[in-house]
Symmetry: C2
């Protein structure tokens, strides 16, 4: 596998490949041409061939791609079978929406605990997940650890919490607050910026 050559742009497209291949696999599709994959993904066939060539030879001339092999291979690159454990900070509307509706398991994650400051929530269970006091964050992490923290707290609380997470050795922060986080060390941050998405839609409807 020639992973070191992979650009950020390709990495950003891999989850879409994974998602599409998973749907194809579930629908019982055994193989697919770059042309057919192109139609379902809105990426040109030549771009697809180029993207996937980074990872070695999955495709065969005249045969196309083996859906299940490609799905498994991309899943491995993305770290989907590594048993990643997630915690969630901030069980407000957005946090609850994720806890109740987002399929963490389909991304290879298990959501193991939630944290909040609201005494009415602490000690309860939401979507099968225990809500703990955020004051116990370090104690919890020392005992159980976590690979990723989902940050759905109000903006002003985000930075201090991100730092505590990094200090406690959490590998990644999935940041839903619209704050730019300054996080030390090897902790990765992935921002979900709703505004960027709405502005893209704004562009699409404004062109005409």
């Amino acid at each position: 596998m020639k992973r070191e050559k992979v650009s950020t742009a390709v990495i950003r497209r891999l989850p879409r490949y994974y998602r599409n291949l998973e749907e194809l696999s579930q629908a019982g599709t055994v193989r697919i041409s770059s042309k057919a994959l192109s139609a379902s993904m809105g990426i040109t066939a030549s771009q697809i061939r180029q993207d996937l060539s980074c990872f070695g030879e999955f495709g065969l001339q005249g045969y196309g791609y083996n859906v299940e092999n490609l799905r498994r291979e991309i899943g491995e690159i993305l770290g989907v079978g590594r048993g990643h454990r997630a915690i969630l900070l901030g069980a407000g509307n957005l946090g609850r929406a994720l806890m109740e509706n987002f399929r963490f398991d389909r991304c290879g994650f298990s959501l193991e605990a939630a944290f909040d400051t609201d005494p009415a929530l602490i000690g309860t269970e939401l979507a099968g997940v225990q809500v703990l006091d955020v004051a116990e964050l370090e104690t919890y992490l020392a005992a159980h650890g976590a690979d990723v923290a989902v940050l759905t707290v109000p903006g002003p609380a985000a930075q201090a919490l991100a730092r505590r997470l990094a200090q406690a050795g959490v590998g990644g922060v999935w940041n839903f607050t619209n704050m730019e986080l300054d996080v030390p060390g090897p902790t990765a941050v992935e921002n979900v910026h709703f505004a960027d998405s709405l502005l893209t839609l704004s562009y699409m409807i404004s062109k005409g």
Copy 2:
């Protein structure tokens, strides 16, 4: 303005430019070099110069970019300022999180109504927005229109609603359900795929 040359990849980056320039503008920054913009955005300076060259000559050698001019110009391309009107379908946890916390106005949108099927919600107000019966969707749109619909309904309800929105002439669907929507005609769809974002984070923490 040489808009026709602009690639999808550049369009996808414009909202980030806009957001960063807005923050710089609010902080009172008058001008900025591509190098300084690069540091705050995590995009190389040469990429920035290349991206912005698509839109004509905003930068001056040795001066950099005028923050406010560039912000306004990119905002115009993105359609911020056109008085876009949004409605929201599905006032569950995710819908409410957006209604209460997302700054639609900062993207140039006003959120004008919400729709739900829950009798307990219909007729109430959430975050200053009236919740109407989804059965009245067509009546409402015939009277008021809407440029964009935010789709935060349960997955199984998404496709039928998207079609109704398109038939009623809504220009864009901001799709938070994880369903691929088949929408006829000129209606644009922008998907928010949480899974793609989490899988990217998964990649980042799995590399080592």
